[in-house]
């Protein structure tokens, strides 16, 4: 248990010492989301319609950005070997790393999302639903991305492969996330969609760490 806390603590410490990398992810998120009005025109009616989808797509891409390298540094400097030989079961160690990654990359996205929501003219309640859907959905994105990162560990084409492998699997999250906001704005209520997202989150948190650990073993054998 102490080891698990240590993994998390040092992961956060390392992230803190590489602050600029985190700022890059956040910057990417904001820039991608801000490009759409420039390409589509600034009609407020249109922006309100596409707002939630745009923010979600931007979040999808932004989480992928940092995830491709989630295990790469550990693989290169030999830490992964020590992690595999540590007293912590590898799935839990992977979950701790993914959790730390979510805290430092996805939480800032959730916090920045209301500002983007305002840019797109979303109402206060819609912004609330958007943030809730991001809080529930981004952990799933991180888990799936971690799986891609583990599978492509040490491959030359790794950086390009992760999106190809992972994005199709992330479609349900995108649909449920953006769908919840849209359902709310249509007066249908976001509840069912958010419940689905929460169910998806629970299933993925329980299952994916084992897949990630298995992939890590396959890739670093």
């Amino acid at each position: 248990m102490n080891a698990l806390v240590a993994i998390m603590r040092f992961e956060l410490l390392l992230a803190w010492r590489r602050k600029s990398a985190l700022a890059t992810t956040l910057g990417f998120f904001v820039i991608v989301a801000s490009l759409f009005p420039l390409g589509l025109g600034a009609d407020p009616q249109l922006l309100r319609l596409i707002g939630s989808g745009v923010v979600w797509v931007a979040a999808l891409l932004a989480t992928l950005l940092g995830l491709a390298r989630l295990f790469a540094a550990d693989h290169e400097d030999g830490t992964l070997e020590q992690l595999r030989l540590s007293c912590v079961p590898l799935p839990l160690a992977a979950l701790a790393k993914i959790g730390a990654h979510w805290l430092v990359t996805a939480v800032p996205l959730c916090l920045a999302a209301p500002i983007l929501g305002l840019q797109y003219g979303l109402s206060a309640s819609a912004i609330g639903v958007l943030v809730a859907s991001l809080v529930l959905g981004t952990p799933v994105l991180c888990l799936l991305g971690a799986m891609g990162a583990a599978l492509t560990l040490g491959l030359r084409a790794g950086g390009v492969l992760v999106p190809v492998l992972v994005l199709p699997l992330e479609v349900p999250v995108l649909i449920m996330g953006a769908g919840s906001v849209e359902a709310h704005m249509n007066g249908l209520g976001a509840g069912p969609w958010l419940s689905l997202l929460a169910a998806l989150l629970i299933v993925f948190v329980l299952a994916t760490p084992w897949v990630v650990a298995f992939a890590l073993r396959i890739s670093s054998e």
Binding site: N2, A3, A6, I7, F10, L13, L14, R17, R18, A73, E76, D77, G78, T79, E81, Q82, L83, R84, L85, S86, C87, V88, P89, S220, E221
Partner: protein, 222 residues
């Protein structure tokens, strides 16, 4: 039987280990039995599979055939318990560039569930002559200094089996002597050390086992 009452002494044994890397078969029929206090030297040409053998021993890779046993029990049945018996240092030193030497040591110790005080860590670093660098981020250390920080773990660990991949590479004469002493002490305390090395190592050991992978190689020497 009297032997049943005694605690089982440390014993590392390997039988019929075979390894293939991709399409290349590296070695087969590697077997040895190392009782407590023995130094196992793994030798062979470049690319003969020394690192692969060490990774198979510790359980990072799986062998095509054969098995590894600790105190008579196959280790593959419980990888987590097996990992708790050994200390492994691979080619890479497992240092994080953005952590300083003391923090790196702390991370390594907590991963292995061998917590130690800050003083103990500093003493270990001092033993390998890098105490004055304890506060520097690892990326500012030289290659030899990085290796020393990694090896400082040896002064802190209580694991009976050490598996070291080229531990003497990049060390100066003083550090080599210090490392030799650490290994000798460990062997004297009935530990077992498995290591690969290209250099002639001058160690006083009571029992030395040489595993020559060239003899177990499946390819004609180039």
């Amino acid at each position: 039987m009297l032997t049943d009452l005694l605690p089982a002494p440390n014993l590392l044994s390997a039988t019929g280990l075979a390894c293939r890397r991709g399409e290349r078969r590296l070695f087969k029929g590697v077997a040895f039995s190392a009782p407590a206090g023995s130094l196992v030297l793994v030798g062979g040409r470049n690319g003969s599979g020394k690192t692969s053998l060490l990774r198979i021993l510790v359980g990072l890779s799986s062998a095509v055939a054969g098995s590894v046993a600790w105190c008579g029990r196959p280790v593959a049945t419980d990888p987590l318990a097996w990992a708790a018996q050994l200390f492994y240092l691979g080619h890479a030193s497992a240092l994080k560039d953005d952590l300083d030497a003391a923090e790196n040591l702390e991370l390594a110790c907590s991963l292995a569930a061998e917590p130690c005080s800050r003083d103990a860590r500093l003493a270990a670093l001092a033993r390998l002559g890098v105490a004055h660098r304890a506060g520097l981020p690892a990326r500012l250390l030289s290659q030899g200094q990085r290796r020393r920080v990694a090896l400082a773990r040896l002064a802190l660990t209580h694991r009976p089996l050490w598996v070291l991949d080229e531990p003497f590479v990049g060390l100066d004469a003083i550090a080599m002597a210090e490392l030799g002493q650490l290994i000798e002490t460990h062997l004297m305390r009935s530990g077992i050390v498995v290591l690969t090395t290209h250099q002639a190592v001058d160690l006083v050991v009571s029992r030395r086992i040489v595993v020559d992978l060239d003899a177990a190689s499946l390819e004609a020497p180039a």
